[in-house]
């Protein structure tokens, strides 16, 4: 057991998986000599050689399409999209192909591939290095979307992704890469998809989130504890499949729900969580379902003044929690 950062957990897990299974192959821009722009594949080129640590041309459509081909031929490709913001040229290959191949072929073919990509803001990345992309893909049947927020989950969910027989979009919040540290067991373990984690129990209010926001929510909840407001904080971990049961159970107890996400509000993940609560637990509620999210602008701007304006932060979250708790 060792304490690791989230990026270390990703790196080490990927390395160990490559050591045990030579079907696992990584591909993407700068995954080779550079070891990835966030160092997720540092040292891999030396250890596994350039055929298994494949620097691709600058073409995300190619990365996804070629990875699909590899998966169809029995490999376990782990494709890196350098930033989540740059996944869109691959949208067609992911949505029309990877996600539909099992269904359209009536189970004759399947695509066990993993797409890893750093997402999220708060790193002065401006409009094109800060985006949230989970809602686009969680909407698509046939692909799973997960967003671990701790080093422990980063390992377990990456292993789960590699064992999955279907495509998985594995999202790494780049602000958590070095910010979030935690214990990571040495042995191999999988964290099941579709199981949310209640990381803080509370009686007054259910707060649902994932990624960096989950840590902000915990922070806000801790502060409110001093005021006697007791917030239950749930980390979704997996966006699709979504563990609504854990959320509903919590709401049944607290009677109040909020969802916090960094993406813009409209049709973001919070919309689905809120809709499912409203469909299945309406009469448990004694307050509106609150969504705290980014404003409806095209991702966060660069200037520090504007970035601060965009990002949900522990203070904003704390205020909204207080308001809802007092409802």
């Amino acid at each position: 057991m060792a304490e690791k950062t989230l990026i270390q957990a990703v790196h080490d897990t990927l390395q160990e998986e490559m050591q045990r299974d030579d079907r696992v192959i990584v591909l993407g821009e700068d995954v080779g000599a550079r070891g990835g722009v966030f160092r997720a594949t540092m040292g891999f080129l030396e250890e596994f050689g350039e055929e298994r640590v494949l620097d691709t041309p600058l073409d995300e459509c190619l990365i996804a399409g070629v990875a699909i081909g590899m998966a169809l031929d029995g490999l376990r490709p782990v494709a890196e999209m350098q930033f989540a913001d740059f996944i869109f040229p691959a949208f067609n290959q992911i949505v029309s192909e990877a996600a539909r191949i099992r269904y359209r072929s009536n189970n004759d073919f399947n695509v066990p591939m993993v797409i890893r990509t750093p997402w999220g803001g708060g790193v002065h990345g401006a409009l094109y290095h800060s985006q949230s992309i989970e809602a686009f893909f969680a909407h698509v049947p046939g692909i799973k979307v997960v967003a671990p927020s701790t080093p422990y989950d980063a390992k377990g969910m990456l292993i789960q992704a590699l064992e999955d027989e279907d495509p998985v979009l594995y999202l790494e919040h780049k602000k958590t890469y070095r910010l979030i540290k935690g214990e990571v067991p040495d042995e191999r373990y999988a964290v099941e998809f579709g199981v949310a984690e209640v990381r803080r129990e509370g009686a007054d209010l259910t707060c649902v989130s994932y990624g960096l926001m989950h840590h902000f929510c915990l922070e806000a909840a801790e502060k409110l504890a001093g005021e006697g407001i007791d917030v239950e904080v749930i980390d979704l971990r997996s966006i699709y499949p979504l563990d609504i049961d854990t959320v509903l159970e919590s709401v049944g107890k607290t009677g109040k729900a909020m969802v916090v996400y960094e993406d813009n509000k409209f049709l973001g993940v919070g919309a689905e969580v809120a809709a499912q609560i409203a469909e299945r637990a309406l009469f448990d509620l004694d307050g509106p379902i609150v969504r705290i999210a980014g404003p409806h602008v095209p991702a966060m701007p660069y200037a520090p003044t504007l970035e601060g304006w965009f990002m949900p932060n522990p203070d904003k979250i704390e205020q909204e929690m207080r308001k809802l708790a007092g409802f």
Binding site: D59, L62, G65, V66, G74, P77, E97, R104, N106, D166
Partner: protein, 333 residues
């Protein structure tokens, strides 16, 4: 035919090859004619024709080793899929959307070929996506040190998508065992080649560091010859090739199209005279492989196999609606 009357011997083809190639071209042609008839009778809502492309398809796939090599075709490739192992019954089960359609169990539109058993990778409607899958598979074969070769087919319209560009580039960089076949029938639905392709398709190969060739796609032996050389190079580790086979489709793009808005009847007639099947029949008689009677009996046999296929597919069932939710993901064991 380019090589005179024993062209096929020089190419290493035996008489039985010629007969089999001819048979698949005939099967495709008659399947096509039957599906149009069924469409007119209201029994097949959607038809994708192959007629005109038979030689390009059968000639090119003949260069591959079935059971070992891998194919990423496109919707037009019925003759190719027949040569790769589809039966007429399979074709019509797909046409009707029956549960035993091998490609998709009735889930996809007709002509969206696929079969793991036959190494035909499942295809979709979005144009050119399969070309990148072919590149990925070819990379995987090389990575695993298997000496399979991958073939991928597309129309000249398909060269316009970024997927084509990416696959050409990737195959060129890694010298992949992959052959690209462009069935250039000069139209993408209504859009003429001149508005589709700046320059010429086969000339683009050089820019990707691979050889490019142009051939007569209505000549099954020429199509075979170009394919064979390319497959041999690929298998020998000499990398990918691009082959452009010029041809023409006899019918409208699909049963939803009406080609009279964009092709003159004269042009269509002109090309019908170059019918690849008539042409091969002439070769077969000139080379004394078959006489008129032999040709006729092959036609009859193919027609009757097609009729049987229609009948069997007709008798089969539609998929049970309760299966609609299956196979989005692997089912829990």
């Amino acid at each position: 035919m380019g090589k005179g009357q024993d062209g096929h011997t020089e190419l290493g083809l035996k008489q039985e090859d010629l007969l089999a190639m001819h048979r698949f071209m005939l099967l495709a042609r008659y399947c096509d004619e039957r599906q149009w008839a069924l469409n007119r009778q209201g029994k097949a809502p959607f038809v994708v024709p192959v007629s005109g492309h038979e030689a390009a398809q059968v000639g090119s796939i003949w260069a591959f080793e079935r059971g070992k090599d891998v194919f990423c075709p496109y919707y037009r490739d019925m003759a190719l899929c027949l040569a790769a192992g589809f039966t007429p019954k399979d074709v019509f089960a797909g046409l009707f959307g029956k549960f035993d359609d091998p490609s998709s169990g009735g889930r996809q539109m007709p002509a969206h070929w696929g079969s793991r058993k036959l190494n035909i990778i499942t295809g979709s409607s979005p144009i050119s996506t399969q070309i990148l899958h072919a590149a990925g598979i070819a990379y995987s074969k090389k990575y695993k040190h298997e000496d399979s070769v991958v073939g991928t087919w597309f129309g000249e319209g398909g060269t316009s998508e970024g997927d084509w560009h990416g696959a050409m580039n990737f195959a060129g960089i890694h010298k992949l065992p992959l052959v690209f076949f462009c069935e250039n029938n000069q139209y993408a639905i209504s859009v003429h080649e001149s508005k589709q392709v700046a320059g010429r398709v086969y000339k683009r190969a050089e820019g990707y560091g691979m050889p490019g060739f142009e051939g007569d796609g209505n000549d099954v032996l020429e199509s075979y010859r170009l394919a064979k050389d390319a497959v041999d190079r690929a298998r020998a580790g000499e990398g990918p090739s691009l082959i452009e086979l010029r041809t023409y489709r006899f019918y409208s793009h699909t049963s939803d199209d009406d080609d009279r808005t964009y092709r003159s009847r004269e042009e269509v007639e002109e090309w019908r005279k170059k019918d690849p099947i008539l042409r091969f029949e002439k070769y077969l008689t000139d080379a004394d492989v078959l006489d008129d009677k032999g040709l006729e009996s092959m036609r009859e046999e193919a027609k009757s196999d097609v009729a049987d296929g229609v009948k069997q597919a007709n008798e089969s069932e539609f998929p049970d609606p309760s299966t609609g939710a299956l196979h989005v993901f692997q089912e829990a064991q």
